[in-house]
Amino acid sequence: MMGNITLMEFLSAGREVAGHKPWPRFQLDARTWRKLAEQMTVSNWEIMAEWGEPAEVHVLLRGEDSGAIAVASHPCPDGKFFALGQARPSAIRLERAIRDLWGLVPEGLEDQRPWLEHGRWGVKHPLGKPREAEAKATTYRFHTAEGDGLHQIPVGPVHAGVIEPGHFRFHCQGETVVRLEQRLGYVHKGIAGLTAGKPLHDAGRIVARVSGDATVAYSLAFARAVEAALGLEPPPRAVWLRALMAECERIANHLFDIGAICNDAAFSIMLSHLGALRETVLRANAACFGHRLLMDQIIPGGVARDLPDDGPSILHHARHAVKKGFHRAMQLYDETPSLLDRTTGTGFLSGALAHRFAAGGFVGRASSRGQDARRNPGYPPYEDLTFTVPVMSDGDVHARLMIRAEEIKASLSLIEQILAAMQPGPIATPVALRGAGEGVAVVESFRGDVVVWVRVSEAGKIVRLHAHDPSWFQWPLLEAAIEGNIVADFPLCNKSFNCSYSGQDS
């Protein structure tokens, strides 16, 4: 192992693949790949995403000190690769999923259980070398916890509320949670398989539906990745409109999250207030962009439609209404000791874990990891805007709620700045095909950094696509945060994380 080596120095030992934008991609042989895993035990490089191809694995890395980003690829024709999960636990689930989907075996990984596959597909390794398999549920061996007075509580996958499916296995001693294990994958949609071979327009619509609440972020990441691959430059007005939509989405989701957290402590009036405010935003969305959730509004090359003439005034009004109502709601939150008693100190996540798992969004920022993709690596137009990225170190439910509250305030100010800065002009550049290419984009969704990687063919079709949800690195942290808490506080912790089932199962 080498001492102070930067990510780029290390990766330059591999072969750089031409046509990968905007950050380079290096092919590593088996030895270098193995050395990468070893080096990761001493370097603080972060895994941002890991995915496969029929005979290759890719990992998107960031050098935490330098901020350099690069993709490392490892061709593995023999169907095996040295598991990075040994050095970085955040990669364990990703590598289990790689095995399920592409049939590549992560060697050295202690946990060899399937992750996304539940034995119900009727086919093994659908994206690799598909093999017919009998569709029958296989028994999944949960981790155990043994001791006096321990008992299990299985929850889900079907829940009492209208939420997404996921199974939670609790081991408890009385009310105290000793261990929580998640079982996800119930809403696997096969996004990677569905998008392969599709024209850009169709693929964009599919990617927009990876996780519906972050549809703007996914569309934006897809558009930016395609633009990087094809060398396109969206017109300035489109860039402003994109940011406008992204901030509207962020506000709407954060508002509802805060309300829902309070509702889980049986304080439903917050949800009523904030639900009404969210509705204000959604109506403004519908009036300005023609879709309440802003689905399919961002396309490669620009945006689908321009703001109507009265758009700025609608948004100004909505912004004022939200600002006023939100201030009052947060006052109510601050003045309700019974509610603060529930959120403070509950579901503590240590900063060390947040860093180790490279957790983005409010989960990371409430546990002292101040990463925001709008700042680092950054993308237009945010370098022209003034905004603060709130960071706290408390790591509890209260901190995650307050980070959201601060982000709402920041986003409200961003909307004002964007509306002031926006100039008239074209809203889209036609997509011109300039040969094949690969592109990757990192975009800050309300949950954290969404990664989309694409390979576009000369004919303008998607050859391969990978969409990575921030929840991949947040779900495992929820398991850690709930440990030692009481069972009855789980819904509160879960809601404060608000991980996406759909996004991680994609």
């Binding site: 009404a276 309700t336 019974s338 009481i486």
Partner: protein, 315 residues
């Protein structure tokens, strides 16, 4: 003879008004939350719906599971019959006292908890264990309140306490105030209201009462829900009867007195139900481990009420 008539009227009355009281609480809560809310008589429709439905029983359930709804409902209903609501002149009044009342409620709870564990699901056990924890803390507090009241009135029969209070034998006492506070806290716990339990939650892991009855459906669920609603009305009637008996018809009062008693009872229910809805709106549910603080507080208040009685007697 009239005592029998009024007893029958009361038996029907508590059953008939209980859904309306619960519906009213829900409606006021919805309005306070800025929602339109289901009309207050929605629970009657729910009962009609539930009684039409098939009762699905888990294959692992024993006879306990089937019997529990009826036993629970019967015990709670009986308890509601012995608390004077609009008149003290009821047939069962001499037969029962506050200690019997506590026991009747305990029977209902015991059977619900048994049924919760009977099916063998994790939630049933979880709910039963929480319910028993609450009961073990709430019952002593309730008994403490009973003792302080019986020390004032010299009896544990609610009807006689009412007669004693209405006879002008009691002034404003600190003890009664403390006992009332303790009683309100116990009532919140016993009825599974916020901040102890959230009757409207969909979160399985936070439930107490709902967790035990998750497996019930059809007429069984109707029985359980009816018991729950009658219990809420019972506690309101009990608080009204013990701490605000004004307007209640005394033995020998004619029909006008009875009508005044009924109107007073309706007014008391209205005030208590509205206050409950307001209270549930402005407070969040507490942590499971704070139950003991909350109910320990109730016990302490009950104890203080008793001690103050002795102190004031000595002075």
């Amino acid at each position: 003879m009239t005592a029998v008539v009024w007893q029958i009227v009361q038996i029907v009355l508590v059953l008939a008004t209980a859904p309306l009281v619960t519906g009213w609480v829900r409606w006021v809560k919805a309005r306070l939350n800025g929602r339109r809310g289901a009309p207050p008589w929605q629970p009657y429709r729910d009962f009609y719906r539930l009684l039409q439905k098939e009762a699905v029983v888990a294959h692992s359930a024993s006879w306990i599971f089937r019997a529990a709804p009826y036993i629970t409902f019967a015990s709670v209903w009986l308890a509601a019959c012995i608390v004077p609501t609009f008149t003290t002149n009821i047939f069962l009044a001499p037969a029962a006292d506050l200690i019997a009342l506590v026991a009747l409620l305990a029977i209902g709870r015991f059977w619900t908890a048994l049924a919760g564990m009977d099916v063998g699901t994790a939630f049933g056990g979880l709910g039963a264990s929480r319910e028993m924890m609450i009961a073990s803390l709430a019952e002593p507090a309730m008994l403490m309140v009973t003792f302080s009241l019986s020390l004032v009135a010299g009896t544990t029969q609610p009807a006689q306490i009412v007669v004693f209070v209405l006879g002008g034998n009691v002034g404003i006492e600190v003890s009664l105030g403390l006992a009332l506070a303790a009683m309100l806290m116990v009532a919140i716990a016993e009825n599974g209201r916020i901040p102890i339990d959230n009757p409207a939650t969909h979160l399985e892991l936070t439930m107490v009462h709902e967790a035990m009855v998750l497996e019930y459906s059809g007429r069984h669920l109707a029985m359980i829900e009816a018991a729950q609603m009658v219990r809420l009305t019972l506690f309101m009637a009990l608080i009204a009867c013990l701490f605000a008996p004004w307007g209640m018809a005394m033995p020998g009062a004619g029909l006008p007195g009875i009508l005044v008693g009924m109107a007073a009872f309706a007014a008391k229910l209205f005030i208590l139900a509205t206050a409950l809805a307001w209270f549930e709106t402005v407070i969040a549910k507490m942590r499971v481990f704070r139950y003991s603080d909350f109910l320990g507080g109730a016990l302490l208040l009950g104890l203080l009420a008793t001690i103050f009685l002795y102190v004031s007697e000595a002075v």
